[in-house]
Amino acid sequence: MSLVPYVVLSSILFTIGAVGVLVRRNAIVVFMCVELMLNACNLALVAFAKQHGNLDGQIAAFFVMVVAAAEVVVGLAIIMTIFRTRHSASVDDASLLKY
């Protein structure tokens, strides 16, 4: 039983997440797509942990989850702050630094 299908699924999910980050306008949905990319990487890490027979990959996935939790907390707080001042959660409306 080869573990290549797991890595292929991981790449597909990562690609979908990347396209979502580029295509969607809602900041919260963009954030969800970033989470999807992190999860796809976790799947690859866990699959390679099994492939190589040591637990370093699972530890790495565990740390990715911790960092993702911290990142979500701060990111959602930033989205809340932007929404409070600009009354919009669209990534296009936060363009004050552009001009």
Partner: protein, 295 residues
Amino acid sequence: MIAFWVLAPIMVIAALGILFVRKAVHAALLLAVVMIGLAVLYLVLEAPFLFAVQIVVYTGAILMLFLFVLMLVGVDASDSVVETIRGQRVLATLCGLALGTVLVVAVAQISLGPVVGLDEVNSSGNIEALANILFSRYVFAFEVTSALLITAAVGAMVLAHRERLTGKPTQASMAAQRVRDYAESGAHLGPLPSPGVYARHNAVGTPALLPDGSTAESSISRVLAARGTVSPTPVDVDPVQRAIDEGVQDAPDGAPTSLNAPDGVAYGSVPSQTGTSPGQPNATGDRGSTEGDHT
């Protein structure tokens, strides 16, 4: 491997759904499907600890955080369809397809060799083995994680904190404002009409009917109006109106009971309601006068 071939299409379809659904809440639910699928795959890949962490931390905590923020941000957070950069969507899709093709083709061509498997490492239990590594080789990273988490918590509190520029509105100040509005612009002093009153339904989405059969806009919550879930004017208003008109015509030579509409809508009871409660002119009489003002 059966679990994989069952779950993988579901997860890919759900992930694609995130790209296409209009509402952010639906995207969050689809993300939950993907994450639970991943948790099951972790179980298949001999990572029971990560299975539990994935369920508890990701689907339990992070997605709930997303849903909290979605509720705070509200109903008007739906995606806009207009492209701000011309051709950006097409280009993004093309780049995504290219990236996906490269990744999948490259990964599918490699051969990983025989799977070693985790049976030997997990012989004394997956959690014990993980703890052995985590608290020996990775103990410094683990400690740094605590600093990261406390920084994130403090940062979120600082970002979400709002300095009040004015005092909190109290009940007394709001009442004073209402009386001031009444004195200056004649705005209605009493409570707004409740929905469904004089209509055929008592649901909150049903606007109250005014005596002339039109709807009272102020009887519907602004949120419902913004969502567009307000029930249309009942179709049987016109027959009721006709019956009322006939009843009024009959009134001089008929009994006063003919004022009541035949199908039970007691339009005729409006004046009698205000008339039979002279003790509380502000309670029922006020609503009648409110709707009279709106017409």
